[in-house]
């Protein structure tokens, strides 16, 4: 069976398990779902009504497949707090979260790649040691702490940037950008350290290979050797880590959206959890997990595009 088909089958299986696991988490937890949603002051009739609506008397697996069936057709059920369809709530908030994560990733890569290249130019040199310590420092900074420190510096002490709130692009690009700088910096400034360290260690390993010595014998300047020969073979682990870190970013986004009051998917989830809105939580967690799995699948595909060795093994066997 060709590789691509095997991977698609694997993707479907993982997605199936992920959604099942989400559904189970929300349903097998202690406490009756209806009571949890309506709260223990609710009258027995309300509880009975809700149970009927949700069809809670049917076995969980059957309910799961119903939920999955409707989910595939875009209906993630209705929130029991405000009756708004969950899917619609997610779609409305998706652009904010996506913009946040994309900007954070751009900042992270924008710092990580040049810094890694510069520090590898003279391993153990001054720049290498400074960047390593800086990376070390940022790595030890939790994003919620960094967010507070950035707000304290840029909003409280010097009123340069808004501390909270989100201005959609429709109301002016610059305002939107201004409102997103601090949140994306909060995520990006930590993310770059992980990417830099991975790229740096791979570059150092590649630079010991014979084909780098051969490039130097050809008379290539150190920078040309780094950029034309060392960078590409060293970028594969970086790409894999990019995929895996998306999960970390989503988690981080939840916090950053909370700190900066950005109306994103993360904050939607938090709200759902606080309000005991199980249906909303169920839909959001499933959406996030599915998104994460799909992104990682695409990153895996990217791998094959960049590395001819992988491409040949995967698409010729």
């Amino acid at each position: 069976m060709p590789w691509i088909v095997r991977q698609l089958v694997r993707l479907v299986v993982v997605l199936f398990c992920v959604t099942l696991l989400t559904y189970m988490i929300v349903n097998i937890l202690p406490g009756d779902v209806a009571i949890v949603i309506l709260g223990n002051l609710a009258t027995p009739q309300d509880i009975a009504g809700l149970r009927a609506d949700l069809g809670l008397d049917r076995p969980m697996l059957v309910r799961y497949f119903d939920w999955l069936g409707s989910a595939l057709s875009g209906d993630l059920g209705r929130s029991y707090r405000n009756g708004e369809p969950v899917a619609q709530a997610i779609i409305d908030r998706l652009p904010v979260s996506l913009q946040l994560m994309v900007m954070a990733q751009v900042i992270a890569l924008g710092i990580a790649i040049p810094v890694a290249l510069l520090s590898v130019r003279k391993p153990g040199g001054i720049f290498d040691r400074i960047s390593a310590s800086a990376a070390f420092g940022f790595l030890a900074m939790p994003n919620f702490m960094l967010g507070i420190v950035l707000i304290y510096l840029f909003s409280v002490s010097f009123d340069l940037l808004p501390a909270t709130g989100f201005t959609p692009m429709s109301e002016g690009l610059w305002d939107n950008f201004e409102s997103m700088i601090l949140p994306s910096l909060t995520l990006g400034l930590i993310e770059w350290t992980v990417l830099m360290r991975v790229l740096r260690s791979d570059l150092l390993t590649t630079l010991k290979e014979d084909f780098i010595l051969l490039a130097r014998v050809k008379g290539l300047s150190p920078w040309r050797v780094l950029l034309r020969h060392a960078l590409r073979p060293s970028s594969f682990t970086l790409i894999t880590i990019l995929g895996l870190n998306i999960g970390g970013l989503i988690g981080g986004a939840v916090i950053v959206e909370q700190i900066f009051a950005l109306p994103g998917v993360g904050r939607l989830l938090l709200g759902g959890i606080f309000n005991r809105d199980l249906i909303l939580v169920q839909g959001t967690v499933a959406f996030i997990a599915v998104g994460f799995v799909v992104i990682n699948f695409l990153v895996d595909m990217l791998y094959a595009v960049l590395d001819p060795r992988v491409r040949h093994v995967r698409f010729r066997s």
């Binding site: 060709p2 093994v313 066997s317």
Partner: protein, 319 residues
């Protein structure tokens, strides 16, 4: 001399994904006589290491039988197989990788005794000290030290001691000197010869260096791409090679003597084919100077051309 080990129609294949297989060893029949050293020669990809591991059922072969002291190892289950193992030992190419870096030398050599149930600690210590001295290691000096404190040659001595401590009848030596420096090789070769004489061992000596194989072997078998080409006693094989591949190997070896002219391998240009899809018929035909159409259609059987000499070639150079 009766056969201590008889390999019949041994076949070893590794799946490589996408339904394709590496044909490492194909239908090899070979026997090792009690007390002899059988040399097994071949280039990388010839399947000699795969054959060695299949003998020890690590992993078991895909097909064929391995008769050791009358028992077919491929038929034996866990416990029964483990009971036979002490008499069939192995030493490896990379001496340092064959020793657990976290354990002391004494523990490494004593482990086989513990595993085979020698519970009396004093008895174990006595036998470990004896086998250490036998391989030229000073027990008091090395007892509590760890493998990283030793050179390649000394690590191989420790590995040999570990193989000897259970008094095996057959030792499979998988390229035991290839990873060692030239000056150390002779030490280990002499040690193996001494141990064989002293403990009445039988050796299966695997290597790609013909000169080393000739120095230690009574009989020699030559393998190419998973198949046996030729089996003969050492003297006649090296003086009058019957298979074209053996002749080419001999001609290709650079003699450490400037006056010996470089031999002509007469090989067709091009690289050895891959074991993933070996050529039909005789697998050497793509490089053989004497290849005929018959070699493409018909796999040459291993047949006897003289007492104690077998060759798998339609047009052997001798007989």
């Amino acid at each position: 001399m009766s056969d201590l080990l008889a390999i019949q129609n041994l076949t070893v294949e590794y799946p490589v994904g996408g339904g394709r297989h590496v044909h490492a060893v194909s239908d090899v029949t070979l026997s090792v006589k009690q007390g002899e050293t059988l040399g097994l020669v071949g280039e990388s990809g010839s399947g000699k290491s795969s054959l060695a591991r299949a003998l020890l059922q690590l992993p078991p072969p895909k097909g064929g039988a391995v008769l050791f002291e009358g028992q077919d190892l491929t038929k034996l289950g866990g416990k029964a197989l483990r009971a036979v193992r002490p008499r069939l030992q192995m030493i490896f190419q990379d001496p340092i990788a064959s020793l657990n870096p976290r354990r002391k030398v004494a523990e490494i050599i004593a482990e086989p005794l513990i595993v085979s149930g020698v519970s009396d600690a004093a008895e174990r210590t006595r036998r470990v000290r004896a086998v250490m001295e036998a391989v030229g290691l000073d027990p008091d000096l090395v007892w509590n030290r760890r493998p990283h404190e030793f050179s390649g040659g000394q690590c191989q001595r420790i590995a040999i001691a570990r193989a000897l401590v259970l008094e095996p009848s057959l030792i499979v030596c998988d390229e035991p000197v290839s990873a060692l420096d030239v000056s150390i090789r002779a030490q280990i070769i002499n040690l193996l010869e001494d141990m064989k004489a002293r403990f009445g061992l039988t050796l299966l000596f695997i290597a790609h260096d013909l000169a080393v194989v000739k120095s230690v072997s009574d009989r020699v078998a030559v393998m190419y791409l998973g198949r046996l080409c030729e089996v003969a006693d050492s003297e006649s094989l090296f003086t009058t090679p019957a298979h074209p591949y053996t002749a080419a190997l001999m001609a290709a070896i650079p003699e450490p003597d400037p006056d010996v002219p470089l031999g002509d391998t007469k090989l067709k240009p091009g690289d050895p084919p891959s074991p993933l899809d070996p050529p039909s018929g005789c697998r050497f035909r793509t490089r053989c100077p004497h290849a005929q159409p018959r070699c493409t259609d018909e796999v040459p059987p291993l047949r006897q051309i003289a007492p104690g000499r077998e060759v798998a070639c339609h047009f052997p150079l001798v007989g």
